[in-house]
């Protein structure tokens, strides 16, 4: 219902030392009409130009400190509120590649009233601010 709005393209930045970035980060919203407990976020799949990055490389931070996706699975007391950007951190030596690239995000949610997982996807052509 909000797929096209998930990735905040302007938020893309590298992480780690400026001259030797160890990864990148961007802000994203949850593609759902309500907030959801973090334990029900099953996947945050990130890809650059269609090349998937490993699950282990991804961390999530809604403001209470970064969690790996495995840690999120038992974060029963934390929520990703509706319409609120969280930070998605990705380990990638060198940071985000220079120039314009397609960044994609897939969110797979365990929504209790649906028999199957809910999946939201967004992809945007992005580049690091100069």
């Amino acid at each position: 219902m909000f797929d096209r709005y998930l990735i905040d393209a302007d938020s893309l930045r590298n992480t780690g030392p400026a001259d030797a970035p160890t990864g990148f980060a961007f802000d994203a919203k949850l593609g759902y009409y309500r907030g959801l407990g973090l334990s029900m976020v099953e996947k945050l799949d990130i890809a650059i130009d269609g090349e998937p990055l490993p699950r282990e490389a991804v961390r999530f931070d809604e403001g209470l400190g970064p969690l790996t996706l495995d840690e999120m699975e038992t974060a029963y007391d934390r929520r990703w509120p509706f319409g609120t950007a969280a930070t998605i951190l990705v380990d990638r030596p060198g940071g985000f590649p220079a120039g314009e690239h397609e960044l994609s995000l897939l969110q797979q949610l365990r929504v209790s009233y649906l028999p199957f997982p809910a999946v939201n996807t967004d992809k945007k052509s992005v580049s690091l601010a100069a």
Partner: protein, 335 residues
């Protein structure tokens, strides 16, 4: 006869603007009262960022804000995260506790209707009835398409309510069950996604005739070799039933609130899809006194090509409500 049906708005209706930060809850409340829809339905998990931790101070702020605008709460939309933990469901006791948590918050907010998700088991709700009575909150199971008022799953909840003789358990119909015509917004989006106009017209025609949806899906997917958008469009028919509005009178004692689902209003304030022109006379005839609460769900169908304007859509729906309620009341007086 004075108007007994009340008008209201669910915050769900403004999900597009609120998601994008273009409206906040007070903007919605202010707009709603400006169109005479003073009843506010909230989704705490959407509209209260600190949910489930809500302080008395926060509740006071909500109440003050509503008072400022002359608005009041009508309904609390609950959720139930039975799948909180990977690989196992909440136990029955945990489910009951979660519902009690919502009933408590409902009561603290001064709300007397709670929308219960349709998948919540009747036996779980039965266990919650004593607490709902204590909190004085009516638990209404949302009758959402493709279910209908008479679906055997819904009748189980009605049976529990009858057996317990309670007025705190019942249903809460979502008007999407009365989809008499296929929404033009659905069709247009599928055509933008590649559905051929003649195939889209075939699907709309099948819906118009009320042909069993599986037949149409088979025709489109297998016989017509439908493309992805066409098959997806045909599959929406599974969720596009037209239930019989004549049943409203039989179940009116079981509901006190209605989610007035809609997908788009025409400029002259007509809903081309949902049969409000048949629903509202039935409600008026049986003297129903609850709230028709707007649930606009058109944003996802048009956001790829146009700016969503939920205010204008909701405004038009309420013009329709006023017209249809007045018409039905005057016809009742003549008879």
């Amino acid at each position: 006869m004075s108007g007994q049906i009340k008008r209201g708005v669910s915050l769900y209706s403004f999900q597009e603007e609120m998601f994008l930060g273009r409206m906040n809850v007070e903007d919605v409340v202010g707009f709603s009262t400006s169109i005479g829809a003073a009843g506010i339905e909230i989704l705490p998990e959407q509209n209260m960022p600190t949910f489930p931790h809500i302080t008395d101070a926060q509740i006071g702020e909500w109440q003050d804000m509503l008072s400022r605008h002359g608005a009041h709460f009508t309904c609390y939309d609950m959720f139930l995260d039975t799948k909180l933990r990977k690989g196992e469901l909440l136990s029955d006791e945990e489910q009951v506790e979660s519902i009690k948590r919502d009933l408590t918050l409902c009561n603290r907010l001064g709300i007397r209707n709670m929308r219960v998700l349709i998948f919540v088991r009747p036996d779980i709700l039965e266990k919650c009835v004593p607490y709902a009575e204590q909190m004085d909150v009516h638990m209404g199971v949302e009758v959402h398409a493709p279910w209908h008022l008479e679906h055997a799953w819904i009748l189980r909840t009605v049976d529990v309510a009858d057996r317990l003789g309670t007025r705190h358990l019942g249903i809460l119909p979502d008007m999407g069950i009365f989809m008499k015509n296929y929404p033009p917004e659905f069709r247009a989006r599928f055509e933008r996604q590649g559905a051929r106009p003649e195939v889209a017209q075939f699907i709309v025609g099948q819906h118009q005739q009320k042909i069993m949806c599986e037949y149409t899906i088979y025709e489109v997917a297998v016989k017509m070799g439908g493309n992805k958008a066409e098959v997806a469009m045909a599959e929406t028919l599974r969720h596009a039933p037209y239930a019989n509005p004549k049943r409203i009178k039989d179940y009116a004692p079981y509901f006190r609130h209605i989610q007035a689902k809609f997908y788009g209003m025409t400029e002259d304030c007509i809903d081309p899809a949902i049969a409000y022109d048949e629903v509202i006379p039935e409600l008026v005839k049986c003297g129903w006194e609850g709230t028709l609460s707007s649930e606009y769900e058109g944003n996802r169908w048009i956001q790829d090509v146009e700016e969503v304007d939920s205010r204008e859509q909701v405004r038009r729906q309420h013009v329709m409500f006023e017209n249809l309620i007045a018409k039905a009341q005057s016809e009742l007086e003549i008879v």
